[in-house]
Structures are given as C-alpha cells and as structure tokens.
C-alpha cells in the first residue's frame, strides 16, 4: 500500500552515522536539505538531543535505545515506523521500517524519488499499524452507510461522513457543523430541530473502471482517510479535516491519466437547508447552506495536474459556521492566501503533528490486547474529533458523524463524554460546559414555567436550550407512543451540575469555579430545593420522575435522582458558602434538604431500592426473557415491562458510578448483585458503566466482556443504527471503564488524584495519558509495578496513602497492604 511506482512513500529517515557519511559532508547536507524540502524529517539515532545531524567531532552513541528514542521522536509528530526509511543497518528496527543501503548515495537516491513522488502529487501513505488503523472494506454496498459513519472525519467543529468520492449524493453524505441546526417540519420527532447539512466537498468525477476497489483505511493516529486499493488502475485518495485548523479540509486523489476529474468543488445537499446557494468566484467555488437559525459557508478550489501518465486532483476547502442567527452581511468565506500557498505535504505534516499531540494527552493502551487497544482508540478518536475546544460545544448523541438523534444534546454529553475531555483536553470540556452556561436563561425559564425557582435543563436540547424532546413518536408496534422522558427525567439537572463539578475536580479551573460553575450548581440546587416535598415526618421526597432506567416512568424517590439531587445541593452549598457569605442561609437550607432526602438505601437489605415500590414489582430477571443486551420493552411491551423489575440500564448503579464512595460501605457489591440480573442493557450507555463497576469489584472477566462489547457497539453495528452516526456516549463509557474502572483513577474535590488499579490477569499492562490540574500524567499499571510519569509535582492518593509525586517517573510496587513507592 505504501509504494508508488516501486518507491515507498517516506515521511522520515533514520540515518546510520558512519565515518563515510560524516566524510561526505557536502553531499550529505545537500541530500538532507532536499529531503527537508520534501518535508521529510532526517534523524541520526544516537546524536545529541536537538542536533539531528551531528556536527563534526560530536559523538554518536548508536544502540537500540537510541533508535527507539528516534522513533519515539517521530511518533510524537505522528510519523509511525511504516513511514520511516532507515539508511544503513540500525539495531532494534520494527518490521515496518523500510531498509535502504548505507551511505549518502542512498540518501541522495531517496531524496530524488521522494521529490519525484511529491512533484507528481502522488497520494501519500499511512502507517499500516493495526493498532492505529481501521480498515473499511467497502465490500457490501448495503453497508456503505455504516462505513460512512465509522470512517467519518472531524476537526472538532466540522464533521464529514466517509462517503466515497465518486458516489456524490449516493448513500448518506453529510457535512455537519457543531451547533448548527435547522428547524424541523411535520409532527413528532420530525418537528424538532435537526443538524443543518453543509456543502459537500468530497465529490470527484471518476471513470467507473478505477473505482471498483473501495477499500479504505482510517488512520486513527493522524486523522486521515486513505483509499488505496491494489492495482495500478485504481483511484487513490487521501482526505483529512485539519485538527489544527478547524474548518479546513484537504483531499488529494490520483488515477491514471484522464480517469478522474475534480468535477464540482462543492455540491449542495439534496435536502435539509432552508436556503442553499452555490456559485463561482474566480478559481473558487462558494456554497452556503442556511436556516433561520444557522449558516454554514464553504469555499473550495481544486487543482488538477497531469504527470507521468497520471492525473492528480488536489482540493482545499475552508468552511465557517455560524451557529446563531446569521447576519445577512456576514462576509463570504475566502481561502486564506497562506493556506492556498502551503504545500499539501506541509499541511499533512501539521495534521500528523496535531493529532499526535492530542493522542499524547489522551491515548490509552492495553498491553497484551492489541485488538481491544485499536477498538478503544477508535472510540477515543471520534470523541476527540467531535467536540470543539473554543467557544461552546453542543455535543449531540451522534456527534458530527450522522443525522440520527438530530444532533440533540442529552445527558450523554455531560456524564459520558465530558469526563474523557476534562481529563485529557480540558478546553473541550470547558466548551461543553459553556454550552450549558449559555443556556442557563432557557433553563431558568423552563423552571419558571413549571412554577419553580432555579433552572431546569431540558432532556433534549439543540441551539436555543429549550426542551426539544418530541412528545410523540411512532413506536415498535407502529402506533404513536407518548414520549415522557422530557417530562420526567429531572435528573438531567443534577447531571449538568455533576459535569461542572467533575470538570473542576479534574482541572481546578478557578475562573470557571467563580463564574459558570457557581451559576450552574446554585441554580440547579434552587430547583431541587423547591422540587423536593416534605412529608409529615420531615423526610424529603422527589416525586414523579424517571431515572436513567426508562422502563419505569413517573416514579417516586428514584434513588439515583434523589441522591444526585442531594449531592447537587451539598456541592452548591459548599461553593456558595465559600464564595458568597450572603447566601449562607440558603446554603444551609440546601444542606438540610440534602440530609432529609430519601436516599433509597435499605440497611436491612444492604442495598438501594431503585424507587418507591420497585421491590413490589414482578421479580422478573432478564435471563427469563432473553440474553442481554436486549431491548426488553420491545419483547414485553412497555406496559408489561413497567410492571416488572427488568430495568433498561444502570440506575442505582449509575449512582455508584458518578458518586463513588459516597454510598454506604458494602452497598456497591450488593447493588450489583441485585440489579445486574435485572438489567437488559437496552441502552448503549449501560454495558460500559457496568464494565467500570465490575472492574472495581474485581469481577474482571465480566468487566472485560462488557468493555469489549461496548468498544465494538459501532464497529459491529450492534444497535443497527450506526449508519445514522456513532454512539459517542458509549465511546465515553469505554474510556471511563478503563480509566475509572480498571485504573481506579478519580479526581477528588480536594485536589488530589486517586489511583487504585485493578488489572485483569490477561492484560500485561494498562496505560492512560491524562491531564490533572495542569499536570501531564502517564499512568501505567502492570502486575509487578505502577509507573506514574508526571511533568510537574502532583498530589495523588494511592492505597489510602497520599503522595506528592515529583516531576519525573515514580514507581510503585505491589505489597501486602497496597502499593509501596519504590525508592529506586
């Protein structure tokens, strides 16, 4: 795959330093300069740091460690071994490195061939590392929409589905922009806002003879989608959306002479926008899609060249999004001169480096399970690609990868997506919270409309923050069904507050603590304070709610809702007490209500009761119906399901997941023992949460099984709806199962990072890159040791002991009473 006309595509060279090489200094300098002009990095393993080519007389210490260090250096800018050429014998080279003869002549030849490939605008290669690449076979045309979702690219602000270039409007092409919606039409779900589709930029005109091979490869490490099938008479193409320049996208394609043409740079989506225009402006095409609520504008230019019997098409696209009502005088987008002038290879190198930097903050690696590692990276890749890190981020249930769920924002974003970002790329988590803070007025209005103070966030929201949950939909029996989630799932209020607090725990962001977080926590607390009602005995209740288990509606004292509300009240009281003495009286009332709220815990049973009366329902176990995961309500019907103890997803257990350690000691295993056999996992959010909790309990086999299942929900299309977009929240639970579950990492409110690994026997190790309160961390748990690399001093709690780790690697060894620091 990596070869073009007999020559491999190379992004970096490792040069063995030998006397003959050093002696030919002028020729060496010319070859190195030529390679660098082709954006090819040249490193000499063993040379002094910061000195890629040794100066005369400087020593070179060549060994396997030096080679590994050089490869690490390249990996840090997104260049994997498959894109590296080694000139001369080097110790410890991975198999995928291209081996070339020693000497400057070899370097000169390489420079010439690489210059030729770039001059002819050949499609670059990707590193075929199976742990970093996802093949899309394209074999079955009926499954094309699934692959379009799986291979979707995102730059955090714009997403583009992986439509085949020659397909035009076939399958389900979509360019989506975060926060841009168009009003719905019709009734039920159709009447609610949906994602505004933007101009499509992936289309090429191609001779059908060159499009038979539709195999593609998603390079997770660098955010590249490569089409590069076998055979000379095949369309090759590389496209990417620039992580470092959101809104910018590039495509390069090649085929035999005359077999491809740029066609139209941009095409308008068939349906969706209220208005759409397209036209030419000199060499560029300008297209705009808009609604009364938002606008997406794109400008694109394509350049076609012929060389050596091949046609190459190179396209550059710049898009802008206007999530709020567009101003009529918004300037038309234009292609920045600097972008138009930059060589494709330079922008590609920038893309590789940008993604490598994101992975440097976020990668999770499971030693001993490369398949699972790849599946996990697939999940993390799409999480990173889907969330803006500037302004505000409206993160829909399917991100920017498809139309399903209409881009609506659920608790999925706050509880399942945000933690990963808070722990790896806080700016994106902050943008997600900005979305909530900016919609506080709408939430306050919703509370007022219900006759309550404070704020009540909607179950589903789009651009303006109002409730957009449809009230009816067509159900699985073809009949209209009443949708009550918007009415009853009050817990979303506490979920939003939890997200704000969780972000603070990870980041210590004081500015946000004083502003947005305080507003979110206190306004949601005011709602709970009024929402709770007291009985004659003084106990506080929250009635008529629905917990995460959506099989049971309009219940009283749902344990999850009540305990989350109590937590919300306490956390808000702490914030208000510390920052605003004038509200201490109100804070004291919140604490009293939190204290008096029925928590559902039954000391006799040693577990929680999901809601008042739950234990009196028919004690049906999920095994009596079907093997989970299963949409049990489809089999039983909603009425029958509601009369049983079968639950859709983690409910009581969700409480343990969000507030670990805050429930009575010993209640987690009891609750798992009681509720797991009743859980259908009918929501894609459920298996990952259970994997996390089972990992904490040391039930590793079950935990790993559920983790694998969750990591492949989209890869195996387990929901039968991946075609409509990827399940971002389920992807978030994969990360949480690994980091919160198996590594036992949790940020504490006290500013300490708790770590408590529980490693399955079949895994050799588990590594996660994290960012805690400004400190970049790498936590690696192995059976024989725990390594924590920190770039600055960081307080941790391990095995009940607190440590202030220095800015270097700290090593702990397992002991009878927990982990002990290895003084060496």
């Amino acid at each position: 795959l990596a070869e073009h006309e007999g020559h491999p595509w190379v992004e970096a060279v490792l040069l063995r330093w030998e006397p003959e090489v050093a002696a030919a200094r002028d020729a060496l300098d010319r070859a190195v300069a030529s390679l660098r002009e082709s954006t090819i990095a040249v490193l000499v393993p063993g040379a002094r740091p910061g000195e890629p080519i040794p100066a005369p007389g400087h020593p070179v210490r060549l060994d396997a460690a030096a080679v590994a260090a050089a490869l690490d250096e390249l990996s840090a800018v997104g260049i994997g071994p498959g894109l590296v050429a080694a000139v001369g014998d080097l110790p410890g080279l991975p198999d995928r490195v291209v081996r070339l003869p020693a000497g400057v002549r070899s370097l000169e030849d390489l420079a010439a061939t690489q210059r030729g490939l770039r001059g002819a605008r050949r499609v670059p290669a990707v590193d075929l590392d199976p742990a970093w690449t996802l093949p899309l076979t394209g074999e079955d045309p009926t499954l094309c929409r699934i692959e379009e979702s799986l291979g979707a690219l995102g730059d955090t602000q714009f997403g583009v589905r992986a439509v085949l270039s020659e397909d035009g409007r076939a399958c389900d092409p979509l360019v989506a922009a975060a926060g841009c919606y168009v009003a719905g039409h019709g009734t039920g779900t159709d009447a609610t806002p949906t994602l505004l589709p933007g101009p499509l930029w992936t289309h090429l005109t191609a001779d059908p003879a060159v499009t038979n091979d539709t195999r593609r490869l998603l390079d997770l490490r660098c955010g590249l989608l490569l089409r590069d099938g076998d055979g000379a008479d095949t369309l090759r193409e590389l496209r990417f959306t620039c992580l470092a320049r959101p809104g910018t996208a590039l495509l390069r394609a090649q085929a035999r002479a005359g077999a491809i043409a740029a066609g139209t740079d941009l095409i308008l989506p068939d349906e969706g926008p209220e208005h759409a225009t397209i036209g030419r402006d000199g060499p560029t095409t300008v297209a705009v899609t808009s609604s009364s609520r938002a606008r997406i504008a794109s400008v694109a230019t394509s350049e076609t060249t012929e060389a050596a019997g091949m046609t190459a098409v190179e396209r550059r696209v710049v898009s802008s999004r206007h999530p709020t009502r567009p101003r009529t005088r918004d300037a038309a987008p234009r292609l920045p001169d600097e972008l138009a002038a930059a060589p494709f290879e330079v922008l590609l190198a920038e893309q590789r480096a940008a993604w490598a930097a994101r992975w440097g903050q976020a990668d999770v690696h499971i030693d001993g399970d490369p398949d699972l590692t790849r599946d996990v990276r697939f999940c993390l890749f799409h999480l990173m690609a889907s969330v803006p890190d500037v302004g505000e981020a409206a993160v829909g249930a399917r991100g920017l990868s498809g139309r399903a769920y209409r881009g609506h924002v659920f608790w999925d974003a706050d509880v399942f997506v945000l933690p990963f970002l808070a722990a790896t790329h806080p700016a994106a988590a902050r943008a997600m919270l900005a979305y909530r803070v900016n919609r506080l007025p709408a939430a306050q209005a919703a509370a007022r409309a219900a006759g309550l103070p404070g704020a009540r966030f909607p179950w589903e929201s789009a651009d303006d923050g109002t409730e957009v949950t449809p009230e009816t939909a067509i159900g699985p029996d073809g009949r209209p069904m009443t949708i009550v989630t918007g009415r009853y799932q009050d817990h979303v209020n506490a979920d939003v507050a939890w997200a704000a607090a969780h972000y603070l725990d990870w980041t210590g962001d004081r500015r946000f603590a004083r502003g947005g977080a305080r507003a979110l926590l206190s306004e949601t607390a005011r709602y709970w304070q009024a929402r709770a009602v007291r009985d004659a005995a003084g106990r506080a209740h929250i009635r008529d709610v629905m917990g995460p288990d959506e099989y049971h509606a309009a219940v009283d004292d749902n344990a999850f809702t009540n305990n989350m509300a109590a937590w919300n009240l306490r956390r808000a009281a702490a914030v208000v007490t510390a920052s605003d003495p004038g509200h201490r009286g109100e804070a004291a009332a919140w604490r009293r209500t939190a204290r008096d709220l029925v928590d559902g815990y039954d000391p006799y049973l040693g577990r929680h009761v999901q809601f008042a009366g739950f234990d009196e329902l028919e004690p049906l176990l999920i095994s009596e119906i079907a093997d989970p995961p299963v949409a049990a309500d489809v089999l039983l019907g909603p009425g029958r399901t509601a009369a049983t103890q079968v639950i859709k997803q983690a409910d009581v257990l969700m409480l343990h997941h969000l507030l670990p350690g805050e429930r009575p000691r010993g209640s987690l295993p009891r609750d798992v023992e009681h509720y797991l056999p009743r859980t259908a996992h009918g929501s894609s959010l459920s298996p990952g949460v259970h994997a996390c909790l089972l990992a904490r309990l040391g039930r590793h086999r079950e935990a790993v099984d559920l983790l694998r299942l969750t990591a492949r929900i989209d890869l195996d299309d387990l929901t039968q709806t991946t075609a409509g977009g990827l399940h971002l929240a389920a992807a978030g639970t994969v990360w949480q199962a690994l980091v919160y579950g198996f590594l036992g990492v949790r940020p504490l409110t006290s500013g300490v990072l708790a770590i408590d690994p529980r490693l399955p026997g079949a895994w050799e190790g588990l590594t996660a890159n994290l960012r805690f309160r400004g400190c970049a961390l790498r936590v690696t748990a192995r059976h024989e040791a725990l390594h924590i690399d920190a770039d600055r001093p960081v307080p941790i709690a391990l095995s009940g002991r607190r440590h202030l780790l220095p800015a270097r690697r700290s090593v702990f060894r397992p002991a009878v009473d927990g982990w002990k620091m290895d003084p060496r």
Partner: protein, 259 residues
Amino acid sequence: MTRILAALDASDTLEPTARAARSLSALLGAQVAGLHVVPPAAHRAADLEPRAGFEVEVVEATDIVEALRTAMETSDVAVAVVGARDPAGTTPVGHVARRLAEQLTVPLLVVPPGSSLGVDGRVTRALVPLDGDPETSADVGGLVERLASARVEIVLTHVFNTRHVPRFVDEPQHGYDAIRDEFRARNEPLADRVELRRGAAWGAVLSCAGDIAADLIVLSWAQDLGPGRAAVVREAMANPTIPTLLLPHHETSAPPVGG
C-alpha cells in the same frame, strides 16, 4: 411478452383467482391465460372462459399438480396464480396450492376465497415483510422494482419478536426512526416506508396489512414447510385472508455479504 398463468377450476375460487390474475397482468404489463387441468375422462367445465374473462386452456392429466407445475415453469410465465380452496374449511389452502408453493420456481400468487387483488382491480399498496436477512431482501428486490415502477406503494414491515429483537434502543423517539431508516436503506431502498411491528410474525404482518390497507403481501421463502421452517408462510397458508405472492428463494440471487 411474459404471461400470468392462473390455475382455474369451476369452484367458487375461479372468480377471485381470475380477477387477481387480470389485475396482476395489468400491473405487470403481461398477458394473462388460464389453465384447467382435469383427470382423463373427468367432467370438463364448460363455462370457464366467460367466467375468467380470458382464454383458458384445458389439459387432461392424472397428476394435476405436476401438469400445472410443468405449464407454469415455462420460460414466459412471470407469475403463477392459484386460488386457495377449501370448501370443507379444514385445510384452508388446498393441496394443489400447497404443493405448487413448495415446488414452483416461479413466483406464485395465492388468492384466498372471497378476496380481491386491489380495489377495482388496481393494486396501490404492497406489504413486504422482511426479516433483515440480505438473501431474503435480494429475493424480493426484482419484484419490488417492478411494482414500484408500476407506482405501487411499497411498504416494508419488520416484526420484532424473540427471533428478531434489537439489542439497544437508546431513545425510542429517535431510535426507531434510525432503525426504520437503515432497515429501508439496507434491505429495499425503493420502498416508500417501513412499518415496525412486534409480536408473532404472521399475526403482526396481517395486522399491519390491515392497518395500511395493503392489497398484497409479498413473501420470500425457501419452500420448506417442514417443522420449524417458514413459520410465516405456514401461517399465511393456514389463514389466507389477503392475496399473498410467494417468491421462491434462489441461492444465487443474494449479493455477497461482507463487513
């Protein structure tokens, strides 16, 4: 030109069967003809052609099913039509229809007594039950294309039950829309819509047919009525209430499945 060939006799099924054959011929732009097979020396009905409204050939044979099968499998027969006859009410579909269904390699329209194919002979809506198996979908593809080109509304139905149940439905107000969209795209993009149902398969299909006022049900099957097989077709044969077009499964008709 292709033909619609109807198996006719002098019973009460003649009129509905002939009417259905005429409707089908108009729908598919095919000629229509009838075939009356009688045992040697048996009485030959005299007034078949006036009652049928088209030409009816009379053939003598000892094995009626074999004679019908041979005639119906000639290359120009697009669809065979047979009435579901059971004067006694014990075996709703007669043995002739049943054996033809099991043996014919061409599509067979089974017409229940008293039914009609469409209103005033015009077919406007066909219900196509699919289980999501790509081979089944491939089986119906050709016919659906012909019906769609004749402006017949194609409604797919997929029945959820213990054999076919989604694993996850995150939010029903969005999840079922997503399932419907993808089911249509993957199984029969020419369809106008998808109706989901749950419960016992044939009951749900019949109920759906009633809900949408379907003129016709189109079923693909492997022509095996043995125990545990073809439950929907068995039910359809046992309780025929609406004209049902049975499409034999052809091993070679399915595209490769990958992914």
